[in-house]
């Protein structure tokens, strides 16, 4: 899928990142990079450390050692709100929407950092604040159009079916106009049609906005179709990194997914 679009320089580099929870090593010396405008898939069997990796990237977990270099600045840790300020947005494996709020309001929260007016000014000068609100409303409406969720604009998201909730969550992440978009299993639990829609949206985001995307996905068909590059984790270590067609043939990857003879139970 590298046709036409130009993959740029490294946007984010992960160097020797290790994370452990007590005695469990979730990630061990993982290094890889995400390049501008590419779609990178992180795959691996259950418990391989994929979600932990995303949690490190947006600051939920602090690595025991190792660094991340984002936009030429190196961090040993950043807090989730800092990651958001630097332009890293994400969605969650188990949809993490604000359930009592409408689709519109959920997507609005994604613009928190774009709405520069100070919290206090917002409360006091409410004329200018209204103007700001209107401008952002336009941006939010563009996203709603883009994701084709006009009909559910005013519906509290807690009432929506799962597939649509995932789409609203993508919308909230897009509202931040991120440089890097992290998607944790964007297609989990979806039917075929919903998956195809989601694939289309991910590809469109990547092409139209030039957003760099790193995603975790279990559906191999999807991974091979949409990603430019694949990183494979197994037991917290990186075992392969490359073009989908190359990774597919990799013997370590095949072993990890199918099990090797000596530890087949």
């Amino acid at each position: 899928m590298t046709n036409g679009k130009s993959i740029g320089d490294t946007l984010l580099r992960v160097d020797d990142v290790s994370v452990s929870f007590g005695a469990v090593a979730a990630l061990t010396d993982v290094s890889f990079e995400i390049r501008e405008r590419e779609i990178l898939a992180i795959i691996g069997p259950n418990g391989a450390g994929k979600t932990t990796m995303l949690n490190v990237l947006n600051g939920v977990y602090q690595p025991d050692h190792g660094t991340m270099t984002f936009n030429d600045r190196t961090y040993t840790r950043m807090r989730p709100s800092e990651a958001a300020e630097h332009g890293i947005a994400r969605t969650f494996q188990n949809v993490a929407l604000f359930r009592g709020m409408t689709t519109l309001d959920n997507i609005f929260t994604g613009r928190t950092l774009k709405m520069k007016s100070n919290l206090f000014m917002q409360a006091i000068y409410w004329g200018p604040a209204q103007k700001v609100e209107r401008e952002h409303r336009q941006a939010v409406e563009r996203i709603i159009d883009f994701l084709e969720i006009e009909e559910i604009r005013k519906v509290p998201v807690g009432r929506l079916p799962y597939g649509l909730q995932k789409r609203v969550e993508l919308g909230r992440a897009l509202a931040a106009e991120p440089k890097l978009l992290l998607l944790d299993e964007p297609m989990a639990g979806m039917n075929l049609e919903e998956k195809e829609d989601m694939c289309r949206f991910i590809l469109d985001v990547n092409e139209e906005f030039g957003t760099t995307i790193a995603l975790i996905e279990h559906d191999m068909g999807v991974v091979m179709d949409i990603s430019d590059r694949v990183v494979v984790l197994d037991y917290g270590r990186k075992i392969a990194d490359g073009h989908p067609d190359v990774v597919r043939q990799d013997s370590a990857v095949i072993d990890a997914y199918l099990g090797v003879a000596h530890d087949a139970a």
Partner: protein
Amino acid sequence: MLFALEVAISGLLSGIMYSLVALGFVLIFKASGVFNFAQGAMVLCAALTFVRLLELGVPFWIAAGITLIVMMVLAVVIERIVLRPLVNQPLIILFMATIGLNFFLEGLAQGVWDAQVHGLQLGIDDLPWEPLANSTGMLISIFDLSAALICGVLVASLGVFFHKGRIGRALRAVADDHQAAMAVGIPLQHIWAIVWAAAGIVALVAGALWGQRLGVQFSISLVALKALPVLILGGLNSISGVIVGGLLIGAGEKLAEVYLGPIIGGGIENWFAYLLAMVFLLFKPYGLFGEEIIERV
């Protein structure tokens, strides 16, 4: 008839005093989805600090200022030590933490100051308002009127601050899902510190007004119990709901005491509010203005 009106008005005004305490609960509930068990202890803390400073000879407004600062520092410390480590934990754990906080603050306040009963005079007389008494014969306390006025101003300003656009949305977002709120860049920690500080300020006002009425002592933390029915009527997450809830409870219990009291025996004032709350729980569990929880089944 005039008597009934007088009873109703004094009931409404005393209800506003309950609203004042309920307001602190609502603020914290809105921002974290948690019932703050320690609100009563915060009222005690604020009132005790204030009255002891006054007794030490600190001028009124400076004492008020210092207490205000103490309550704000307390909010920041609570956020840093108690709340921050509990981000992303189930809400019940946050709730349990506020129970612990309650005992800690009660102990702290009485340990630093003392456990004696202190009289507090705010310089507002608890006497009938003369012009009204002279023209209509109704005896309505100046203190009650002032308290209602103060409470109204407080509710209106907090209502404006916490309801509009982005802040209102940020509060609801934080209450709904900590992790997602942080991921979209809402500064969860700051919001909690601000809201707890606001609840601390409300506690000071409530503590001072109730302090004059009851004397500042341990039992002042029990006024929180009277705030519970107000919350149930008004809705746990509605700032304007506390006013309506307070008015209904206040007027209801006073009228019941006066008109039902002779029929079924006195003391109705002590339990009528809870009965009203129970009836509400049966028919309108989210209160009059509370946000209904939406679940997909």
